[in-house]
Every structure is written in C-alpha cells, then in structure tokens.
C-alpha cells in the first residue's frame, strides 16, 4: 500500500504515469476520497503526465487523527507529501469542492510550488460573500451529523443499507463525532482580497449553473488575476460526480495547453 508519513500521519496516495508536468488531485470533504478523481480523471491523465492523487487526512485509506483538520493542516500535509515524494517543480493542482479550498490556500502560501489550478466548485470563503454563504459549509456538516442519527435513517440502514452503505455511514459518523473536524472547519478563514489577488498562476474555475455555492464564482473570478470562469449547464455542486467525462476532457486539455506553453517557453528561451 503506498503510504507515507506526513506530519505524523500516514497518507495514502497513488502516483501514476510520467511526463514533464506533475498533476496533483485533491478531493472533497467527509464523504469523498481519492477514488473520485482516480475513477474519473487520474488514470486517463496519467498517460500524459506524472499524476498524483491522495487521501486527505481522515479520509479514505489515510490515517484519521483526532485533531488537525484546519485548511492550514491540509496545506502542510500537501507540502509534506510533495517534499516526501520529491516533487519540487511547480505542480498543477486540481481541487474539487473542499479540495479546491486546500489548493487555493496552498497556492497563496507556496506560490513557487504551483504551476496552475483547476478548481471545480471551490468552496472558498472570500470577502464580499454573504454570511449565509460563508456559514454553508459548517451548516452542511451539522445537517449531515443530525441526519445520520435520525431514527428513520438508522432503520433504513439496518434493513436496506447493505454492507457498503453501513460501512460508509459508520465511517462518516466516526469522523464527525470522534475528531475535531467540525470545530476545525468552523475556524476556516475567509480569504482576503489581497490573498486572492496574490495568486499569479493561471486558474480555471468550473461551477455548475445550479450550484448552491454559485455566489462564489463571480467573487473569485473578480479577485484572482488570471482566472477564467466556466459555468456548466444543468449541473449543481456535484460537477465531478455528474459530469466525469467532461471534467476529464477539461483536465486533458489543460495538460495539452500546459505542455504547449512549456515547449513555447523553452523555444523562446533558446532564442
């Protein structure tokens, strides 16, 4: 099992393929793990680039410590993982939902390590968003926690849930009740205009037209200097789950474009 110890915790990762560009895929919160990127995109991308996907701490097959679930912890883990695996050149980050928050925070803290970012439905808190909007993430977690303990949900799980669903729910319950996840995420700070405008790499934002966090799209595209926004029709927050083939095409196109820019840069440098 490919695992490395980063900041005292074992992190599960898959590194595949080879190429001049390095791609790092970061998954979403709680119910997610590296398999969503692995299934939809990473294997196809690995035919063209050095490709890394990993389980955030507490998720998937990574270790679940009782504490340490702030965005800053996520940034430290990513830095530690890249260092441990010897990835020193700037990498392209692909973040889904909460994974995009980690990517943005990482790019602000370590700009020299990031070549570009594709952010799918980034759950990023920024100045200018309404209070309702900013509270949505922790409210969602509270709701999930309450829902998992409802008697009807319990009964459904016992009678119809099956092995897989019962295992998943047990894991989510443990995550929400036995770790500092919710408290840590409540402290998630809002990124300042200054921080967002300090991001110099190319950024592609993808939002579902029906997304409940769509308010973020305009704020982010206004603040991040080299950002482009794509709004995909007939999709909500679950863009990666519901349009995996389209996300894969987008990533492959991104890699082609990065390669062309790199070769162009080399040609210019040679003259």
């Amino acid at each position: 099992m490919p695992k490395v110890i980063v900041n005292g915790n074992e992190l599960f990762y898959r590194r595949m393929g080879s190429g001049d560009s390095t791609l790092v895929f970061i998954h979403g919160l709680l119910m997610d793990n590296l398999s969503s990127w692995w299934l939809a995109v990473a294997n196809a991308a690995a035919r063209h680039a050095d490709t890394l996907c990993y389980d955030l701490r507490g998720h998937g097959l990574s270790e679940r410590p009782p504490t340490g679930y702030t965005v800053a912890d996520g940034v430290d883990d990513l830095l530690g993982l890249l260092d441990t695996l010897g990835i020193e050149e700037p990498a392209h980050l692909f973040g889904n939902s909460y994974g995009a928050v980690v990517a943005v925070a990482f790019a602000i803290a370590h700009p020299e390590r990031v070549a570009g970012m594709v952010l799918i439905e980034p759950h990023v808190g920024a100045e200018g968003l309404s209070d309702d909007e900013l509270g949505r993430l922790s409210a969602g977690l509270d709701e999930a926690l309450t829902g998992l303990f409802r008697p009807d949900v319990k009964q459904w799980l016992e009678t119809k849930g099956g092995r897989k669903m019962n295992r998943l729910v047990a894991s989510w319950k443990g995550f929400l009740t036995e770790t500092s996840l919710i408290d840590d995420l409540r402290q998630t700070k809002t990124f300042s205009d200054e921080e967002l405008s300090s991001i110099k790499c190319r950024v592609l934002l993808v939002f579902g037209e029906e997304s409940d966090i769509f308010e973020r799209a305009r704020v982010l595209v206004d603040r991040i200097p080299d950002a482009e926004l794509q709004v995909w029709r007939d999709l909500d927050h679950l863009v990666l789950r519901d349009a995996p083939a389209r996300v894969r095409e987008l990533v492959l196109e991104w890699v082609r474009s990065a390669e062309a820019a790199r070769i162009g840069g080399q040609a210019l440098a040679g003259h």
């Binding site: 393929g17 294997n43 196809a44 690995a46 035919r47 099956g162």
Partner: protein, 106 residues
C-alpha cells in the same frame, strides 16, 4: 462453426491462465475486504465488484494497486482504466478484470 486457427488460439488467454488469474484475483479481493468478506457465495467470473461484493470505490483503488503489484509490467492497468468511463468501471465484474489480466499476459 468456425475452425480455430493458430492466430485465434494465440490471441486469447489459455484456460489454465484464466483459472490461475481468477484464483489470484480472488485472494487479492479477500485480502482487500478483510473481515468484511462474507463467504456467502464463491467469487466467480460473473461476480460484480460493486453490485455483488459491494466494494467501495476506495477499496477498488486498493485492489487495483494489489493487482498492479502482483503482475507489475505484465499489465498496463492505468491505460485500461483510462479508457473507461466511470460507469463502466463501476459495472466491472471479476471476469472483466481476470480477462484483461490473462489477455495481457498472453
């Protein structure tokens, strides 16, 4: 009935190889599932990963890794996965995986 030629025989895996690969894959599945594997029915070529074994996606990733470690350069698992849509991967049976491996091994 079409007469088998050397080419068609050479193109597919030998039955003995298929059985060996099935045995290996079955043991890897049991390893990945650990205590959760319930021996209600044996693993066959028709067993579906998601529907029958209720394998979680992350467990399939773990299984993929075990398969790659076991067969190393004999198979190109990443390219095989890379050509499939998510729904196709989720509908895979043990037989699909075994056939892929056995065919790759020749």
């Amino acid at each position: 009935m079409t007469e088998l030629t050397d080419t068609t025989i050479g193109a597919g895996p030998q039955p003995s190889t298929v059985q060996e690969v099935l045995d290996t894959v079955s043991s890897l599945i049991i390893e990945v599932l650990g205590d959760d594997y319930l021996l209600e029915s044996p693993i066959t070529m028709d067993t579906a990963f998601e529907e029958d074994l209720e394998l979680e996606s992350i467990e399939f990733v773990a299984l993929a890794e075990q398969v790659e470690l076991r067969y190393r350069d004999g198979i190109d698992f990443v390219s095989w996965m890379g050509e499939m849509e998510v729904e196709e991967i989720k509908a895979l049976t043990v037989g699909d995986l075994v056939t892929f491996i056995a065919t790759s091994l020749g």
